[in-house]
Symmetry: none
Subunit: 251 residues, 3 copies
Amino acid sequence: MNADETYRTVMTVDPPATDSPFEVASREFLFGQVWNRPGLSIRDRRLVALACVAAADAVKPIDDHVYAALRSGDLTIDELNEVTLHFAVYCGWPKGSQLEVTVRTQWHRIHAERGEQTPPWPVRTVDDLGPADREQRIREGQQLFTDVNLVDAPPSDSPYFYAGILNFVFGHMWARPDLSRRDRRLVTLPCVALSDAIGPIHSHVDSALGSGDVTYDEMQEICLQFSAYYGFAKGEVLQDAAERWRARASR
Amino acid sequence: MNADETYRTVMTVDPPATDSPFEVASREFLFGQVWNRPGLSIRDRRLVALACVAAADAVKPIDDHVYAALRSGDLTIDELNEVTLHFAVYCGWPKGSQLEVTVRTQWHRIHAERGEQTPPWPVRTVDDLGPADREQRIREGQQLFTDVNLVDAPPSDSPYFYAGILNFVFGHMWARPDLSRRDRRLVTLPCVALSDAIGPIHSHVDSALGSGDVTYDEMQEICLQFSAYYGFAKGEVLQDAAERWRARASR
Amino acid sequence: MNADETYRTVMTVDPPATDSPFEVASREFLFGQVWNRPGLSIRDRRLVALACVAAADAVKPIDDHVYAALRSGDLTIDELNEVTLHFAVYCGWPKGSQLEVTVRTQWHRIHAERGEQTPPWPVRTVDDLGPADREQRIREGQQLFTDVNLVDAPPSDSPYFYAGILNFVFGHMWARPDLSRRDRRLVTLPCVALSDAIGPIHSHVDSALGSGDVTYDEMQEICLQFSAYYGFAKGEVLQDAAERWRARASR
């Protein structure tokens, strides 16, 4: 596929004319050279790009990518709602709020364009919040922390770890349905990469690769997809973490 | 207090219905589990959250948190104006500008809602700008740098240190009235944490704890409050800095 | 010039081998398609890229770009020191601190590699701090604010505007020597673009173009250079601001 065809497939609308160096280069690079590469599905690339545009607070790109994700059928409304929650936890609730609103807006827009009634928004109950038993949550959080991160659970002795990481992030969020663990990694990896937090970058790259959820070749594509949307400056750090993992793994 | 009651206390308005995973989880986690924790006052938590929402460029959350800070009476208009300046210096003026506008807007809104005339906005004079004598500013800046950071002042030989850090940041800004040094730390800590600059993260965590302005237990709550609003990826780095301080302090 | 030759010119060292999709794409895109474009000098592109890598907290890229800026002779040590201060003001002091250290380190490294003694570091005096008279500073700050931003100076009635913007940012920093106003715009534009603050993005794009300091065609190149280093998600917002300016200007 050439750049314009790829644009149409990814964004689900006709490509606008390109008449500035920025537009020419972004069409050619993003759609002619990145999105149409093999090695990572368009759906997977969407998860990376969604996290990047949401983090960039770029309202129109958020609209466009959420619309395209829904219209293409690559992500269901339930999956997108989970992406919003997962993104908010890793990039902060304030940035999540724009994505939250956008998912609703684009969901209505797509049904309106089709002349359809928007289906009823899913009802949430307390059963959606994970186990009520707090000891069970911590216990399951410790287990899932280890399953995801491939290291021992952290001590339960700080609010950050106990009330935050064990009780909520791993005791509930990573265990929620609608996104696979691999999907969640595809949202998490750009979030840690754009956060520049070097410890989390290494631990999430290592565990994504070490778990087998993401192959080394796929990680290369994730680095490139991320760099295209969030810049090569930060991309270089993610890439470096992947290289270090491979160097260790091959010893 | 349950999540909805805490929401009402913190945000000073009735909690909206929650019908997406993002909303359900954020209500439950932020208000059911974070804001109502002991160990850090709601006013202190506001300073952390204000820096986080301002940094995230999230217009509605900025509006909501400034409104709530004023309406609750937790922060006066003078204090909020100082928060804006302090935040702008640590997170950059572009991000500060939205907070500046918001403080004015919400200040009017609150008085309008009460059917009151908005009080006259405070007048500023040159006496508000610190010492005119430039040698005195540098000297006082060096002293305050040491008092705040618990290390020697940096060399006066680069524009960054001389015209910036010594002349303005410590020669004037940290010495301004209306916010205590501890208050300023509660704004600075999230700013350095979200900046990802590892040197400043460690120096500000170390000096906040080393000075006694913030206890280790309070720092734990600051880490959680920050993580809740700016994401667990960056929160982990802040938390790690606190742990390293304790490990060194207990030797 | 092909990608490898451009790499050598820009980075001032031999290009490393490329053996991952990330490396291949970044060499080809950054050096084969962006840095060697006409329409913006390599020195100008350096100012944009330096702000981007410094903002990304990417230690090795910061080292590499500061080294290359000095070794190429494109930026003097005095100019780089000013870039550091200007960047710190627009992106926050925490991020500035890494750049501050790097400029010193790379300055020594270059002289050591040449077997030369590092020249004495410039001495700073109070005359380096702008006018001592506080009324004069505010007055000059108001004038320079108008000259740079092409709009009236803001009210002097908040700490953000009075002690910050008028007294320091425009009352002193923008008036400092060693960088031209156009140079300062080339540092400011990426800083506001990466901050996501939509008001400052528009005001700095509008005034850069409206002042004639930057032509529309140059702005296009700045957008592309910025996008390459800080991602197309944020780049699209900058580009959109430039397009809106042109649409208004051509009416």
